[in-house]
């Protein structure tokens, strides 16, 4: 019995550009309050926040904060990835991204940028991961 046969593919000519790592400072104070309804619309503004950007609250929720912002600030007392925030709040990533963009603008949270794959991976990073895996 022989297994089915695959043919390998070539890399596409232009790989998609990696998302810029830093957070923009736009959008200050211009958004309407009914955010949740435009979040999954066609012109949602996405900050370059990765699934594994670590978020830490910098302050207590202000009285003016929306319930979902308060909840986000509350669970981020210790660092938490964007993916975990999405899971715990039961909100899609795009919604969490918009909430975070606002909280970053208001300086209520701090974002710790992820380690992303470069054309040339960081050897010391890989060695640290291997060392950590050995302890599992």
């Amino acid at each position: 019995m022989t297994p089915p046969q695959r043919r390998r593919r070539q890399p596409k000519q232009e790989p998609p550009p990696p998302p810029p790592p830093e957070v923009p400072e736009d959008g200050r104070g211009e958004r309407p309050p009914e955010r949740l309804y435009i979040l999954t619309g066609e012109d949602n503004e996405r900050a370059p926040i990765d699934l594994v950007t670590l978020i830490v609250a910098r302050a207590e929720p202000p009285p003016s904060a929306a319930p979902e912002q308060s909840a986000l600030l509350r669970i981020c007392q210790a660092p938490l990835s964007v993916a975990e925030i999405s899971a715990y709040l039961n909100l899609p990533i795009s919604v969490v991204t918009v909430l975070l963009t606002e909280l970053l603008t208001a300086e209520l949270v701090q974002a710790r940028a992820p380690v992303v794959r470069q054309a040339q991976a960081d050897r010391s990073l890989l060695e640290a991961v291997m060392h950590g895996l050995q302890k599992l």
Partner: protein, 206 residues
């Protein structure tokens, strides 16, 4: 969508908190066809109970199905299971695996971009279900290793026969594993890391 009252949201359990020293996170993606054990593998190595995140995409964003002139868009929700391993006090590794349809999660911007690499999990009873996902990784230059999830009743082909069938270059590791076992899944991740390390040594870009 219903948002639960802020008071009812339960965040991570105390024992699931990352230390404040956690400075950065990296991610790897576990891919493969339906039912090959991706979620099992995530669960077996994760230090937290696996969580589920999701993204909603409109058809305009998906761009695969033409709506034949209709202006209405349908939203597709793509779910992703993930787990976490604290590698050091400063560095955290996240593992993403997915149930559901592969063609959608390649459109999930930022899932594969930036990932250190991928594990392609394969079931030899249905080798062909992993073909498409491997091709997409190759197109996107995401380095990957292949892990054969050894189901008891699956045919056991010699590794070299599998390498030929999967049309994989000599340097791409192929290993057998039992995704249910933590040590075995850990070894798969270790194989991926060694492979990524070897790429930095040779200067190749997969």
């Amino acid at each position: 969508m219903d948002f639960k009252s802020s008071d009812t949201i339960t965040g991570p359990r105390t024992e699931d908190h990352l230390p404040h020293s956690a400075q950065a996170a990296a991610k790897i993606v576990i891919v493969g066809g339906f039912g090959v054990g991706k979620t099992t593998m995530v669960g077996s190595v994760s230090e937290i109970r696996p969580l589920t995140t999701e993204e909603t995409m409109t058809q305009a964003g998906i761009g695969v199905d033409d709506n034949f002139g209709s202006k209405s868009k349908t939203a597709t929700t793509v779910a992703m299971d993930f787990g976490r391993i604290s590698v050091t006090d400063q560095l955290v590794l996240y593992l993403f695996g997915t149930p559901g349809q592969e063609r959608f999660w390649f459109l999930w911007n930022g899932l594969f971009e930036g990932a250190l690499g991928a594990v392609v999990l394969v079931d030899t009873r249905r080798l062909e279900v992993s073909f498409d996902v491997m091709g997409r990784l190759e197109e996107r230059r995401v380095p990957f290793v292949v892990a054969i999830n050894d189901f008891p009743d699956a045919p056991r082909y010699p590794i070299e026969e599998l390498r030929q069938a999967l049309d994989l270059a000599e340097e791409i590791p192929i290993i057998r594993c039992d995704a249910r076992r933590r040590a075995s899944s850990r070894d798969v991740l270790m194989t991926l890391m060694r492979f990524l390390h070897s790429l930095t040594a040779t200067g190749a870009s997969a």
